[in-house]
Symmetry: C2
Subunit: 246 residues, 2 copies
DNA sequence: TCCATTGTTGACCGCTGAGTCAGTAATGGG
DNA sequence: CCCATTACTGACTCAGCGGTCAACAATGGA
């Protein structure tokens, strides 16, 4: 059978490549350095990857595949999911908010677990060759937001005079920045309360007066078991140690 | 006196460099190509710039210098400016909103006029060497937002329970994304109504109930000469052709 | 017109680093 | 133990490109 290959070789090389890409950027990272960091030789690198760019692509694509799997799991955006139903009255709001919050938490948890790759992509992947990946992802997020907002306006959840295009920029930009911050933070963060706060900010920006009143009254009536997804404002509740800069 | 230098040489080279950096990115742009595009020789390039990176730095720094001048002009953030006064009651709100909107319009107009350089920086400057410039600018914007939010909370304009750190991420991220979109759009846009819409979204997210009520009543009372900075909602007003994707 | 001075050119140099490949090491089967 | 087979090594090649400089061009003053 011949000499068996070291089963760790490729993993070691991928890890090392990730670290070098993060530190130097795709263009300035040297294959030699990646190999040394992985404790292998340059030749070993080329046994597993056709080129430096190929290694980068493999890292990012495997992460994106897992992200897609995470997003499809649950499938609330799918036909039959809650965000495609057109028959919800305002009363359906609480369920919508809960589903929205769950999805946010799910995505941010994924981002947190893959923060090394995300940082590499965002900071080390500043290459003209692959920068389009980030833009493409941003654009996809935004078009999802457009769909969601238009749907929410039809349902009466959001202001009828909402400029959906502009609001989608504002909201997706907001989430984007929060995610970028999350990716850089080190300590463990309780994501759900943070997501709920973001949701509350966004809701304040876009919700229709009727929906805002409903949410407000529901929160008050349902104490002390508040509707999931709506944080109870008030000084008694201890502030969660949030995502703070430095 | 000897041969006089071509006065257009440096400008031509800067323009060409800008275009090449945008098209290929700093790392992949070739000095040769820049020179050819400018109708000059490679040697001429090195008469004006110490290196490729030096040219990039000169383009960005001259733009940043003009931006700083624009921001300082007016100086509402300076001591004595409206955003440093601690004695404004809620009644001072309209002035604050007007000043805020003016500043936004001013900045977005600058971004629009310098959109070529901004695009170059955002899209072509994806280099590990200069990427920090973007992050630094984002961080500065955010810390300004933190100061502004904390001040507004003290003044009673914004919700007392606002998580200033998180909200600053959300808001600066929102503005960032709007600016990035603006930079890519081609046609002329009437910036003030767009800025007013963004302001209204942000206000909805963060303003205190008392302030929101005040703003709302003022808008209603002051018709048909609305308070600058507050757009009158209503179906009669024609929708401005917004910033639309593709 | 001639020359000193300064501007401009582009062939050339040298370095860096991606990618190769002849040689060596490790393994399992016979 | 030997050999076929596959894994792995790292010195080497070489293309590409940043940066240089000897030669040449343009100009104004004497």
């Amino acid at each position: 059978m011949g000499r068996p290959s070291d089963p760790n070789a490729k993993i070691d090389l991928l890890r090392a490549a990730e670290a070098e890409f993060l530190a130097r950027g795709l263009d300035h990272a040297k294959v030699e350095d990646i190999a040394v960091r992985a404790g292998r030789s340059k030749g070993a690198f080329y046994l597993h990857f056709a080129s430096k760019e190929d290694a980068f692509r493999q890292i990012v694509e495997s992460m994106l595949a897992r992200l897609a799997a995470t997003l499809d799991d649950g499938g609330i955006f799918d036909p039959g999911g809650i965000f495609t139903r057109e028959d919800l009255g305002l009363a359906g709001g609480p369920q919508v908010l809960a589903a929205w919050l769950d999805k946010d938490v799910q995505i941010f948890e994924f981002v947190w677990h893959n923060r090394r790759v995300f940082r590499m992509l965002l900071e080390g992947g500043r290459s003209a060759t692959f920068g389009y990946l980030i833009d493409e992802f941003a654009e996809r997020t935004r078009s999802n937001t457009v769909r969601f907002l238009a749907w929410g306006v039809r349902q009466g959840f959001f202001r009828a005079d909402l400029d959906v295009d502009l609001a989608s920029l504002v909201i997706s930009g907001a989430y984007d920045r929060v995610a970028r911050h999350l990716v850089r933070s080190d300590g463990q963060i309780d994501l759900r309360p943070q997501c709920a706060k973001v949701q509350r900010l966004v809701l304040g920006a876009i919700s229709s007066p009727a929906f805002a009143a409903l949410v407000d009254s529901q929160v008050r009536n349902w104490n002390p078991a508040p509707l999931p997804g709506i944080e109870v404002p008030g000084p008694r509740r201890p502030r969660t140690a949030g995502t703070r800069s430095r």
